[in-house]
Symmetry: C2
Subunit: 202 residues, 2 copies
DNA sequence: GACAACATACCAACCGGTCGGTTTCTTCCG
DNA sequence: CGGAAGAAACCGACCGGTTGGTATGTTGTC
């Protein structure tokens, strides 16, 4: 009846449910019971796979969010020679996603949410989240470096500075949209973001 | 023996303690008992002044944080004709503050912390926090408008767009510093921020 | 029969909030 | 001026519910 490889299935279902609840609410704000209920399992199953709530959180960061960063930022920019155009394409993709599911407008970025909530409280969390930001920034930095070499980015721009600023601006924008919850304010900030990117043109 | 005006004293002590704990931890993460203990009062006193935990949070936003925004952003920019220079001066002031009390490096901005934590969970919170952001952005917008008129800001810049982008970038930067907790990364982001301001020069 | 994969019952600690009561201050009458 | 009356300020024991976590039991598969 049930599959033999149910084991991994249960684990990933717990992880995905936890990510969803952490995203919708927060880490501290969601209880283990909520995860158990929404995942359709029992507490015994959860504690069989994870030592405790924190370990579950770490796994969500290390597995779910990390792969998400890789898919949306690292891979698309890996071979970029025109990062400004490619970053704008990623922004376009976000716009499409929001047009389809407007609810995510108020949920923010899972990485940023967790980082803002936990990095001052738990150093193990902070280090893991910082690791993801480094991966993200490094992908941008490499792309800017390639862009400078290819002539699509102004040569006096510092790739590392630009990468860090883009990440900060992007996370700030997503955060502001979360508070404003208005499409107008989103497009206002979208314009500012693209304006900044254009400043990096030669 | 005790002063006649002890009443207001207790209320403000509760508010300041709550702000401190909400800043250090989070809203949901700090218990009423913690506030009571750190303020050196009792639960009865707290519930005498505030209907509940949420009402306490609202009061912290409406009174403590609002006045802080006014002092650091609205008043200094009220009569500005060179907003770019004046904003940089405010940033310098932040740098000095961080040099004195480096601990605040990892605590972030109280407004942004609360906004990110609560705006998706409680609409009353969101509206109040949004109100503060509007005050902040309006102050910047007016200053940019005055700067354009005075010739200290490029005339093709949209004051409202610039204001919204500055706020987003600033909150994003503070958020990133919270995760990184390194002075180097702070100066890297500081450079990006000032670079963006210079883009707004004529 | 050993072991992973769960399920269930249960726990102490803590949560936000209530409530009856006491103290302290203000007011106003004589 | 004294002193009763009442309101505001404050206390702390207590409540039902929830929290993260555990201990023990059951089940299916090599």
């Amino acid at each position: 009846m049930t599959e033999t490889r149910q084991a991994e299935d249960t684990r990933t279902r717990i992880l995905e449910t936890a990510l969803d609840l952490f995203h919708r609410g927060s880490f501290k704000g969601t209880s283990i019971n909520q995860v158990v209920e929404q995942a359709g399992i029992t507490k015994g199953a959860l504690f069989h796979y994870f030592k405790g709530k924190n370990e579950l959180g770490y796994a969500v960061v290390d597995e779910c969010i990390r792969s998400h960063i890789n898919e949306t930022w690292v891979e698309p920019l890996a071979t970029s020679v025109d990062p400004i155009a490619d970053i704008k394409a990623i922004l376009d993709h976000f716009d499409e996603m929001i047009a389809e599911r407007p609810e995510i407008l108020q949920l923010g970025c899972p990485l940023n949410n967790l980082a803002q909530e936990m990095s001052a409280q738990d150093d193990a969390f902070r280090e893991r989240l910082l690791g993801l930001y480094r991966i993200w920034e490094t992908a941008l930095e490499k792309a800017f470096r390639a862009g400078i070499e290819a002539g699509s980015v102004r040569s006096d721009a510092d790739p590392a500075d630009a990468a860090a600023t883009i990440v900060a601006l992007l996370e700030g924008c997503i955060g502001m949209i979360k508070v404003n919850q208005s499409r107008e304010h989103m497009s206002r900030i979208d314009r500012g973001l693209r304006l900044f990117l254009d400043f990096l043109r030669p």
